[in-house]
Structures are given as structure tokens and as C-alpha cells.
Amino acid sequence: MIRRSILFIHSLTVVALAAAAWGQAGGQLRFCLRAEPKTFNPILVDDQYSDAIRYLTGGVLIRANRRTQELEPELAVSWKIQKGGRGIVFELRRGLLFSDGTPFSAADVAYTMHALLDPNVHSPSGDAFRSGPGDPVIRVLNPYSVAIDFPSPLAGMARLFDQVAILSSRSPRKEMAVLGPFMLAEHKAGAYVLLERNPNYWKRDEQGRRLPYLASVRLDIQQNRDIELLRFRRGQLHLINTLDPDSFDRLAAEAPSSVYDAGASLDSEFLWFNQVAGAPLPEYKKAWFASKEFRRALSSAINRDDICRVVYRGHALPAAGPVSPANRVWFREGLEPHRFDPAAALRGLQGSGFRNAGGVLYDRDGHRVEFSVITNAGNKARERMAVMIQQDLAQLGIHLNVVTLDLPSLLERIGRTFDYESCLLGFSNDDPDPNAQMNVWLSSASNHQWNPNQKAPQTAWEAEIDRLMRAQASAADPKKRKAFFDRVQEIAREEEPFLYLVYKNSLSAVSPAVHNASPAALRPQSYWNAERLSLTPELAGSR
């Protein structure tokens, strides 16, 4: 009898401990979006706030695990790349239901792909699937098997399906019928979006319990970061997805267990010089900016370690090239950032005909080296970086004027009038695959910022990058793709069309009341595993 009692008490203790570790089912997770989602239609998503809703509500065939960066089966139990990278076949999970109870089948995948690729819809996610002239062909092989054939090879195509939330072809609720862990319950414009647990969500945890644990997620629309921080500190919010370094350090001092530095993100900050041939700049300045030696010398004169330490409070890494080490698959190992060496930089400039007289740098024709850098007003980190670079370059005798502009004016200058000399901006990267950078590296691309929309590559190295980027985009062999893109990274470091400065760390805050949080470097950093997040028992009872 005593043994039975001990066993019973032991069992109770185990259950209680397990409950404490896993949190309790129910409760409402609260956090902020910094702006209103533009759409709830997953195929029209073009902004990160709509993407947050799509991530939490949409069911996808394949999910890229944000922590391991590996592809994992979701609605598809398996997939196979065929025809030398021109086709893919999915075997689908059986017996699944959309949130409104309509069954899931291959017809829904076909319906979604047709909607996504409809040229009248202009789906941003659909654009990634256009591998060449001609339309992809979608074939339903049986109710649980579907094949998609593309007109030409599409490298890394499996990863693209991470962005494709499957729509129901039969539901009267259209895109409101979802296969993800949550479904849209309420939206009050400008105030909040309320998501509730999808009662038909198919996933279960290791103990066989239904996921998600949370009953609902409330996303408040809050632009002001200070208010967001204040609400988090008061316990009114459970997480802050991205924190700036100042707030991170302040929170870390108050509650070290609530902040997470997931290391370098995919986002980089960089500076580039205007190399557009028709830009309204003096010819001698165009000659400076087109000179590889000039760009490399200035790159060596920038103290990236100081920028990381002072501007980002140590929550950043000096950057070497277009790919951050956070990108485990595509980062070119061994690529080091330029060493800070003002003396070598000055020697390099002197070798190109520049001379320093009385602390002022002149070019070979006697023009004083002075130029401006523009950046977007209100971004404190960029403004601070620009001022630090101003002091670094002053050591060479270069006078740098820092000009902050409102974003529309800045975009007008860098994209239309080309009336600027250099610019400091950053890239926010969501997709680790090099195909996501095609619109930057191809010389004909509009985001080829230093000299966009070229009819033909104007330099030999740009022609080489064009060739390599096209080759990697059509190669079926991942090793070949890696080799091609490694070479692109090497050329980018050698020629320095972008002077890469830092890779920002992914900083977030999660309340200790949230269980199973494991923030990652990739978006959505702190709620990528939302289905497994749970709240402490006292909060789990609340809605």
C-alpha cells in the first residue's frame, strides 16, 4: 500500500514537473507588430508584418527550420527534385483538414500554385518561381501527390515552398481557411490582430498532445519601440521580436533571463559609391569611385571593430562580404573582413596618385578629396556609423559630409536621379539562398545599387559575377552552386562595390513566462516555433 502511494506520488511529481517544463496549454501570447499588415491573403504578402501573419496561420509543404536552417517536411511528407532541377514532386500528408473543416488534397496545392503564378495577381512569392520564359505546369498525379514542372532549372526550389501557404480550393472562406497552427479571429485596424488556435491543426507533440499549446496570439500594432519596451517590462507583452542594442543591454541589466542574442543575423550594413556613368557628378569624382584602389583603401580605413563595439554595443560582427556567417550553407569560409589599417590605406591611395598635404588629401589633379554620404534620417545606428566613418576617413585627410535624408528623398536619389556620391544603407535578408540576391548582383538588376540597370556589364568583374550568378541559379548540383557563389563572394570582397561594414546580431526579448522559446537568427526570430510556445500555468488560464 505504501509502495503504491509512493509510486502514485512519484507519478504526480513527474506530471507536475513535465507540466512546469512544458508550460500549460491555453493562454494568450501577446507581442507587437510595428505596422499594420497590408494583407491577410498569403499569396499577396509583400511586407514583414503580413509575413508574420502568414507564418503563424499558413500551412506550407516544406518548412525551413529557423534554427538548423534545414528543410523539414510539413504538409508534404516527402519531395523529390526531378528533371535536372526543372521539376518537383510532392507526396502529401493524408487526412488533414483546413481550419474550417474542408479536407486538404493535391487539388489545393495545384489551386494555390495557379493562384500564385497568375500574372494578373502579381504575387511577390510567385515571382520567385519564374525560372525562365514559359509557364510552370502543375499536375495532380493523385489526391495526395502533385508534380510541378518549370520551364528551366530552378536551383534551390524546395526552399521557396517555405513561403507558400496552401489555400483551400473548396472552402467558401477562401484564404481565411488555413492549415497553420493559428487562424485569424479578429482584426481591429490600427489596434490589433487576434489569432486563435486552429482546431484542426494536424501536429502533435512528442507526448501526443495537440499543438499549438497557446489558445490565441494577440499582435498589437505599435510603432513606438519605447512603448513596446515599457509594456514588455510591465508584463503586458510576452516577447519583442527585434530589439535594438541599447534596449537589449538595458533589459539585460534588469532581467538577464529575458533577453536573447542569437548571434549574427543575415542582415548587413554597407556603404557604396555611386558608379553610375550618367550621374550628375564631376568627372574626377566618378574616377575616384570607379577606382578599385580608392574603394579598397577607404575600406581599410574604416574601423569595423569600433563600429561593432560602439554603435552595436558588441552585438554585431565585422562584415566581410554579402553573406553572413549566420548563413550556414552559403557563407564562404575563410573570408575575413578588411583589417583596419589607416597607414596601409594611405599608402594605397598614394600609389594611385593621391597625396596628403597638411592633413588634406588631394587627387593627382589637385582636387581636394571631399564627398558626402547619405543615409536615412531617423536610423540612429546608421547615423552613428556615418559619423564614425567620418572620423576614420579624416585620418586620411578625407572630408566626409554626413547628410541624413527622409527615406523617399533618399530612394529618389539612389534609384532615379543618381544625384548622390555615396550611400550607407543595409539589406534585410530573409532567404539564405543566393537566388534571393539575384536582384542585387546581376548588372541588369535594379538593386545593383552602385550602378543599376546596366544594358551590358560595364566591367569585366561584373560580367563574371553575372555569369556566376546565372550559373548557380541553373545548377542542380548544390556543390556546384556553392562553388559558383563562393567565387561571387570572393570577387565582391576583391572589388568592393559594397564596403560591407557589419552583420547585425539578432536580438530579442522573451518573457520568462513563455516556455520553449528558442530565438533564432532568422526571421521570425523569437516565435518561429510558435506552435510549441506555451505560457506558465497562471497565464495559461487567461485569454
Binding site: 534596449s247 538595458r250 554603435v311 564627398f371 567620418q390 547628410v403 535624408l405 548622390y420
Partner: protein, 268 residues
Amino acid sequence: MKTVRSIALTVLVIVFGAAVLADWVAPAPYARQFRSAPNAPPSRQFPLGTDELGRDRLSRLLFGSRVSLLLAPAAAALSTLLAALIGGGAGYLGGRWDRFAMRSIDLFLALPWLFLLLTVRATLPLNVSPAASITITFALLSLLGWAAPARVIRAGAQSLRQADFILQARASGCRGAHLLFVHVLPNLRPVISAQFWISVPVFILGEATLGLLGLGVTEPLPSWGNLLRGLESYSPVVSGPWALSPILLLFVVMSCLHLVFPGREFST
């Protein structure tokens, strides 16, 4: 009251003196970044601590005071002068002059200044020296800031036109410039003076706002405006009371100016 005014005057002399002599008084060059000591608390080396880039706050405050204390009053004076001429003239002359001036003021106040400032920024070159950027900034502020005071001054001038002492002066044969300068303007002086003192802090803050459009005092030159911009978020404010020194100095200087020149504002 006399003692308070004396103290206020002493404070003003010290602040203005320190601003003018900043080259000698400041502990460090205003642009120098002590990168090993960003956000440092006050110490013997940095009496007011350092900013986020490790620049000495006291030095930046002194050099910023020089820029703002010389140029904001200058811009306020120009703007008030324009307001007095247009508003005062309209109110005093009345009739079609008044109607024309009022429509112009209304039009001026209704213009979408943000877009016009963006156009101004677009037409200016990006490589502008700090001295030129300061001049442009405060010239813009004075040219933009006259319309609202002009309305107030015009109302004052209009009420004076019907005042008994003006009617008596007219009845005595006083006309034109003599009437304007001897009887009207001295009685408008309190209104004009008040508009001037109101304009000074508004222009100091306005300069900070122009910085968001790329038109303010450019880095690394400090001004009270761009020092105050550092306080626009929560973190710097709670990081230490020394971060509040620019706003404290602005408050002290403006209070002292009001204490030193009270009679000119409100006497009639």
C-alpha cells in the same frame, strides 16, 4: 526681485561667455570620439559624461550653445522683424493693405511646408559646409516663422488704431511716420518682444526637426537642436540625468532671459 534678476543675468553672462570662449573652455574638441568610453558617466575627464560615440558632452554642449544662442535669436529677430513690418503695417494701415496682408498670411500658413522643405533640400547640393548649413537652416527658420507672429502683431496694431490716445494724436495733427514711430510702435513693443522670446526656443527645436530632412546643423557640429534629438527616445533619458543637460540648459537660459527682460515684454 532685483536679486533674482542679478542671478539670472550672472547665469546668462556665464553661459554666453562659456559659449563664446568654448575653444578655450571646452575640455575636448567637440567632434573627437573617445571610442573606449562611449556613454561614460561624469568623471574628471568628462564632467558631463560622453555621448553614444564617446564624445565629451560638456564640450558639445558649449559649442552647441554657441551655435544656438547666436543663431536662434538672430533668426527670431529676423522673423519678428518681418512679422512686425507685415503684421504691424497691415493692422495700422487697414483697408485693402490689411486684406492683402491677411490673405498672404493665411496662404503662407496653409502651405504644405514639409513638401516645400523637401524641395529645398532637393535643390541644395549635398556637400554643404557646416557654416553654410547653419546659415541656411536659420535663414529658413526665420523665413518660415514670421506668419504666425504677424497675425498677433496685426491684431495688436488694429486695436491700437482705434485707441483713444491714437485718435487724440491724430486730432492733434500727428500723421504718417511720426504717428507710427512715436505712438504705435512703442505700444506694440510688448507684443513684438513676446513673439521674439517665444520664437527663440521654437527655432532651437525647429532646427532639430529640420535635421530629419537633411537641412539642420550637420554632424559633427553640435547645436542644441541636434543635442536635444538625442533625447527623443526613452533609453538615453533613463541612462543618467547628465543626458538631460541640453534640455536643462535650454530651460535655464530661457528662464533667465525672461527674468532679465520682463519689463520689455509686458509693460504697456
